[in-house]
């Protein structure tokens, strides 16, 4: 991938950590929908004399993530002040990490089988989030506003920034990298990874290789709020740079914003400011020294990695790669699947039902698997009834719908559908067949006189019996019995 014109992409991802309180003070991090400036205190408002104290859970979460990525955790790190003036930053500096980040190195695997490769990670560090600005102009745009309003509820919320090496080659790879990282933070339980809510924000550095294979001018692209937006923005930006180069122009080093509605990246107006952040160690914060045993403890708390789990689903249970990918996308869904198999479910049948039925319900109701009303035990029992032939697939789906919509346990749902007796066979089934045969004498006549070459009319009779039996009979058995009656008389 070193040929001229090929793209080189590096990603900087900010992950909001799912702690209850902020990075350096005890204010709540629950800012979505909160009344402006309610989750604030002298520390996150930057009042003189206030002192920051680091939140232990933030360190736990970040170390856990670093370990999952195989990064080297720094036992001795420190915080710097990154100085710049902007009203969303009340102290006029952001507390961040600079020369000694919490972790360095490591990688994140993407792709499958032979295509699988590890995208190397440069560093992982901690920093605080900024407040939110509301601009006064009618169109909400900064440039047209006479003044702005600031809400500091988000200011000081913990962020973990993960920087990749510029070794991502295509927009699709970038998308997968972000998807895998999002999945990872969800498995680790350190963030909800929601891009639309802004709990996971992606900035991309894009350049094209020059004729001699060296890296071209780097452009930073921001403001991509979904995986699809990320992929589209990168495709657009790579095309734009190729066009600039093709016309003999120079690519400008700048920051560009993705405009999702118009499908373009836009440069910021005016001259790009050369940033001069004047980093220096924050004298209010002592160095961060991890207690002995801390990293080992986090290692002990580490769940199985999603990519390991996916492989296990394939090798242990014979699931297709696609089934395994879908079922391991969310940790809760994977736990549900494992719960079913532990209860004795046939893995292939369970995978099939979860993918078609359970996921349909989750999508329709927009609920996470944690709120799914059918327990793995009941779900497995239902599948077992299908397996044994006690319930037809059609009836089982009706039972399933009742269990979901009414929150009924399995026996109650079966009872409601009048399917209580379980499998219908023997004299009871014969009685139903005889009843149908008496009713459908015309059809029987036609079949006997050879007017059913394709067996459609036989199928119709079977269908009538199955309906009468509320789906509880074995369709194969019904067909056989009807066939015997038709052929013998």
């Amino acid at each position: 991938m070193k040929q001229p014109g090929s793209a080189v992409i590096g990603l900087e991802i900010h992950v909001q950590l799912a702690t209850a309180s902020k990075l350096f003070c005890a204010c709540s991090t629950d800012y979505i929908g909160a009344v402006p400036n309610t989750n604030v205190c002298p520390v996150c408002l930057g009042q003189p004399g206030s002192l920051p104290v680091i939140n232990a859970r933030v360190v736990e979460y970040a170390v856990r993530t670093a370990l999952a990525l195989g990064a080297r955790v720094g036992h001795f790190t420190r915080f710097h002040r990154k100085n710049y003036f902007y009203p969303d930053l009340p102290k006029a500096y952001q507390i961040s990490q600079y020369d000694l980040p919490l972790a360095e190195g490591g990688s994140l695997p993407i792709g499958e089988g032979k295509e699988r490769r590890a995208i190397p990670i440069t560093r992982l560090h901690l920093e605080e989030d900024a407040g939110k600005l509301v601009h006064s102009a009618a169109d909400g745009r900064l440039g047209h506003s006479e003044y702005s309003l600031v809400d500091y509820n988000r200011g000081g919320v913990p962020l973990m920034e993960i920087v990749s090496e510029p070794e991502i080659a295509t927009p699709a790879e970038a998308r997968e990298y972000v998807a895998r990282l999002r999945q990872l933070v969800r498995y680790l339980g350190v963030s909800d990874g929601d891009m639309e809510k802004g709990s996971l924000r992606v900035d991309a550095n894009v350049s094209l290789r020059r004729e001699d294979g060296s890296l071209g001018t780097k452009v930073e692209v921001k403001n991509m709020n979904s995986l699809r937006a990320l992929e589209r923005a990168l495709e657009y930006e790579i095309g734009r740079q190729a066009e600039v180069i093709a016309t003999g122009e120079q690519v400008r080093q700048e920051t560009r914003h993705w405009d999702d509605g118009n499908g373009v990246t836009c440069g910021m107006r005016g001259k790009e400011e050369a940033h001069d952040y004047r980093y220096f160690p924050d004298p209010d914060l002592p160095p961060l020294i991890l207690p002995s045993g801390f990293v080992e403890e986090q290692l002990r708390l580490m769940p199985e990695m999603p990519w390991v789990l996916k492989e296990r689903f394939c090798t242990d249970w014979g699931l297709s790669l696609e089934d395994a990918s879908v079922l391991t996308e969310w940790p809760g869904l994977a736990r549900y699947m494992e719960g079913c198999v532990r209860c004795g479910a046939n893995p292939l049948r369970a995978a099939n039902w979860i993918r078609t039925e359970t996921l349909r319900v989750l999508n329709e109701r927009k609920i996470p698997i944690e709120k799914f009303p059918v327990s793995p035990e009941d779900f497995t029992a239902l599948l077992a009834k299908v397996e044994k032939g006690d319930l037809s697939t059609t009836l089982a789906k009706k039972v399933f719908d009742l269990m979901v919509s009414e929150g009924m346990p399995l026996p109650a749902a079966i009872g409601r559908l009048g399917a209580n007796s379980g499998k219908l066979e023997g004299p009871a089934l014969i009685a139903i067949i005889e009843r149908i045969m008496e009713r459908e004498t015309g059809t029987i006549e036609e079949i006997r006189s050879g007017k059913d070459p394709k067996g459609k009319k036989r199928g119709f009779l079977c269908g009538q019996v199955m309906r009468e039996a509320r789906g509880q009979a074995d369709p194969g058995e019904v067909a056989k019995m009807i066939g015997e009656i038709l052929d013998n008389q």
Binding site: A20, S21, V40, I54, K271
Partner: protein, 99 residues
């Protein structure tokens, strides 16, 4: 390592300070005096001294992840130069930070 007039102007800009031409000169002298002092510290032999040494610190003090609401919000808002409802109001933000 002396500070030039140019650098004084740049630092003033970063700090959002308006500096008159004649002030530039005195600031330049002032800043150079500070640098000279640190230059003298540099001449000390600190070969075997840990730059982050803190005698009193083995482990970083940290706090549990618990929420403690603050009741001074109204005071903070009302003492701000300008407020609008629940918000702090700030003057027009210039997108282009250069002069």
């Amino acid at each position: 390592m002396a500070v030039s007039k140019e650098e004084v102007r740049h630092i003033a800009l970063l700090a959002r300070l308006h500096v008159e031409e004649e002030e530039t000169q005195s600031l330049q002298r002032h800043l150079n005096g500070i640098l000279e002092h640190f230059g003298r510290l540099k001449s000390l032999d600190l070969e075997n001294v840990d730059p982050f040494a803190r005698e009193d610190l083995d482990v970083t003090p940290w706090r549990e992840d618990t929420v403690v609401p603050w009741d001074g919000r109204e005071g903070a808002l009302s003492q701000a130069p300008r407020r609008e409802g629940d918000y702090f109001r700030v003057p027009r933000i210039l997108e282009n930070e250069d002069e």
